[in-house]
């Protein structure tokens, strides 16, 4: 196959945008078949372009990066920005995830949303998201990346609040938007600093400048830029302290949770950190912060996930936890491992969400795991596909999650970071907890006694449990296969593999990365064994508590009431934010901004202008008599005054 012309790169974002325009403007009048055809075509074509791109870039003599023509965008004195699209191996992996998983989720949505109102709106928003997400990963500069960054935030807001008539959904959308603004603020400040120090926002220029100045290692301004970027990434990728929006984002339709809030958008932060790895390598403090945030988020979210009852919320906290893993990997300099986990996580987490959606679909909207159970025989395909996802995320070999998670733990263990043992332990405990809560979900949903019978009232025969249509099961099957084999692209040498993904990413990460430490294969194998054992322990506890003797967990929770309450109420973080940030902010707004600034200064100045005009009018009203001769008199007086000023004014002015 011939190499791809670079101008074709523009089609990757523009086709979904065209789909958005068609469905967004005409969709209300179009039949559903046509809407889904447009939406699917506009995601399938970019996916095939990406496949072509993949073939081109994998060719033996292919360049490391492809770039479109550059067009001027902003040109003012001292600063100019161009826009162009660029593809390197990192972008290629992201594009594969975005277009591939995105296309599968579009297919799934056709079935999932079939009976919903606002069908056209849903697909228009989904295509809009695909547009911005491809802009984000294809951007060649921080500025264009920021455009995509904000755009996916917008699409996320629109889709979380898709059921906008439900107050909780509308509020969740607002919460996501506002929390993300805090992160974007950091991103903006970082861009300002970049302009101040580099005069450019183009990746290649910034990074080559950094590469030319080895003496900048640990420079303060680089650390500041990196820390501000971390703030942005923490907002988008739901890390401490800005993770609170993601669990609430589950108010959106399930395909949205799978696409935006698990597979693609939330990984934008990890992508950004990996993209800026040169910058982060020069700012070790920021890198340590990234690692600590990641590890803390991983264990924190996992501990909350253990006690949630809503099937989607378990998955949401699991997503936060896994994103923490990726952050931790980036923080110890193992960017390739982080991206590898991003890839496998996209497969199995999208699968888990879609399967959870299929379960919810089967139970006609039931999301509480306490009302599920015994579904294994009734929705077998969903069960088997979801099992693949559960095994993958729990880290059971040879499923996808095992290899990527193990790579992260190994890289953390051997990293030169002084905290590496602590980080590794945290990661290991998190792996155990992940295994526990995923198998808890698995057992509670698919095993045990059916707890759904009471819903099958005679009057509502449609309420009986049913397997989803094939259009929903097909993406599940594809993703399940990927969840099984997806990890095999990164089998480390210690397990007789070739770590293909690591070598594939070498052109991106090798340039500035620390030399890879080799510690021999035995250590890697021992660590892998430990993490598998941890996963097995998690499985065994879940098996005991939720299959062998159901009720064990409840009894345990009863004995440790305070600990359970702490977890069940999510460490009261939301309450803490409400009381210490939102309430003071509201008091400040209501007390100072509203009363003094808005009512006092803004309204006051308006009122004063009105009063002044009225007073002046009252004083001059008597002159409007309708008498032409008085008007003429004023006219003559005015002309005389102008004349006098023109003749005498200058000399008067001089004498004063």
């Amino acid at each position: 196959m011939s190499p791809i012309p670079t101008s074709y790169l523009w089609y990757i974002p523009l086709l979904p945008f065209a789909g958005f325009m068609v469905n967004g403007t005409l969709g209300r009048k179009l039949p559903r078949v046509l809407i889904s055809t447009v939406a699917l075509l506009c995601t399938a074509l970019p996916a095939s372009i990406v496949a072509w791109l993949w073939v081109t870039m994998r060719a033996p003599d292919a360049p490391d990066t492809l770039q479109t023509l550059t067009y001027p965008w902003i040109a003012i004195t001292g600063f100019h920005a161009n826009f162009a699209l660029t593809v390197d191996h990192l972008t290629l992996i992201m594009l594969g995830v975005v277009t591939g998983v995105g296309f599968l989720i579009h297919i799934y949505s056709v079935g999932y949303m079939a009976h919903e109102d606002g069908y056209w709106r849903f697909f228009a928003y989904l295509n809009l998201f695909m547009f911005f997400m491809s802009v984000l990963v294809l951007a060649d500069s921080f500025l264009l990346l920021f455009v995509g960054w904000e755009g996916v935030g917008l699409a996320s807001y629109l889709l979380i609040g898709f059921y906008f008539k439900k107050t909780s959904a509308a509020n969740a959308g607002k919460k996501a938007f506002v929390v993300n603004r805090i992160g974007d603020f950091g991103f903006l400040l970082a861009m300002f600093l970049l302009i101040a120090h580099f005069g450019s926002l183009t990746f290649s220029q910034v990074f080559s400048t950094i590469g030319q100045h080895p003496e900048w290692q640990g420079a303060r301004f680089l650390t500041a830029i990196a820390l501000l970027l971390v703030l942005g990434a923490a907002g988008k990728s739901a890390q401490i302290p800005l993770y609170i929006w993601l669990p609430d984002a589950m108010e959106g339709p399930t395909p949205v949770s799978a696409l935006i809030h698990a597979a693609t958008m939330v990984t934008a932060g990890i992508y950004m950190v990996a993209r800026c790895h040169l910058l982060f390598d020069h700012a070790p403090i920021a890198l340590t912060v990234v690692a600590c945030i990641g590890a803390a988020t991983a264990i924190f979210a996992a501990s909350i996930g253990m006690v949630q009852h809503d099937i989607k919320r378990v998955l949401a906290y699991s997503t936060i936890s896994q994103l923490g893993y990726m952050f931790m990997a980036c923080g110890v300099g193992a960017y390739a491992a982080g991206i590898f986990h991003l890839l496998t996580h996209a497969f199995f987490k999208a699968l888990l969400f879609l399967a959870a959606g299929s379960v919810i679909h089967a139970l006609c909207g039931e999301q509480d795991m306490r009302n599920m159970g015994g579904l294994r025989k009734r929705i077998p395909i969903t069960f088997w596909t979801m099992s693949a996802g559960v095994f993958a995320i729990a880290g059971i070999p040879p499923f996808a999650g095992f290899f990527s998670k193990d790579e992260i733990l190994y890289q953390t263990f051997i990293s030169p970071n002084p905290l590496h043992i602590v980080l590794w332990l945290v990661g290991l405990v998190t792996a155990g907890m992940t295994s526990f809560y995923m198998f808890r979900l698995w057992f509670k949903t698919f095993f045990g006694e059916p707890r759904t019978e009471q819903r099958e009232t005679p009057g509502h025969p449609t309420h009986s449990v049913h397997e989803s249509p094939w259009i929903m099961l097909f993406p599940l099957v594809v993703l399940a296969i990927l969840s099984v084999i997806g990890g095999w692209v990164g089998v480390p040498a210690a397990m007789l593999g070739h770590d293909e993904i690591g070598h594939f990413l070498d052109p991106v990460f090798a340039s500035g990365a620390a030399p890879v430490l080799t510690t021999g294969h035995s250590l890697e194998l021992i660590l892998a064994l430990i993490s598998v054992l941890t996963a097995a322990v998690g499985f065994y506890i879940a098996y005991l508590c939720y299959y062998k003797k159901p009720g064990t967990a409840a009894a345990f929770a009863d004995r440790n009431k305070s600990a359970y309450a702490l977890l069940a109420s999510k460490y009261w973080v939301d309450e803490f934010y409400t009381n210490f940030l939102v309430v003071p902010l509201l008091m400040f707004t209501r007390g100072v901004l509203e009363l003094i600034v808005d009512r006092g200064v803004v309204n006051g100045s308006g009122r004063a202008a009105g009063m002044a005009t009225r007073g002046f009018a009252w004083a001059t009203r008597s002159q409007i008599s309708g008498n032409i001769r008085s008007y003429a008199g004023w006219l003559a007086f005015g002309a005389a005054a102008v004349l006098a000023v023109m003749v005498f004014g200058r000399s008067l002015w001089m004498h004063l």
Binding site: S625, G626, N627, I628, Y631, A632, G633, A636
Partner: protein
């Protein structure tokens, strides 16, 4: 040769008379005449300065003023006739349509 100042003084006097009549007189026709007087005072200055500088543009400008004045006279007289037909008066103090 008559000095330019003489023409200017005459023009100023004519203009002042025009203004005074414009302000004092109540009859619309008279006011109209006073406007013409002021216009012609200005014309006189134009011509005087044109003569002084040996420039023809001032004199051309006077033609324009005359043309505009003729047009204005036609429109103005038509307005006056229609006002008289409706109000039976030419006293400007009684024509106070612009009173607020």
């Amino acid at each position: 040769m008559v000095p330019t100042a003489y023409y200017l003084v005459l023009a100023a006097m004519l203009f002042s008379i025009g203004i005074a009549a414009f302000l004092i007189k109540r009859n619309v026709i008279t006011i109209f005449i006073s406007i013409e007087l002021m216009l012609n005072a200005v014309n006189l200055t134009f011509v005087a300065f044109a003569h002084m500088w040996h420039q023809v543009s001032g004199q051309i400008f006077v033609f324009f003023v005359m043309v505009v004045a003729a047009a204005e006279a036609a429109v103005g007289l038509a307005i006056i006739i229609s006002i008289f037909r409706t109000r039976q008066t030419l006293n400007v103090d009684e024509i106070d349509l612009m009173k607020s």
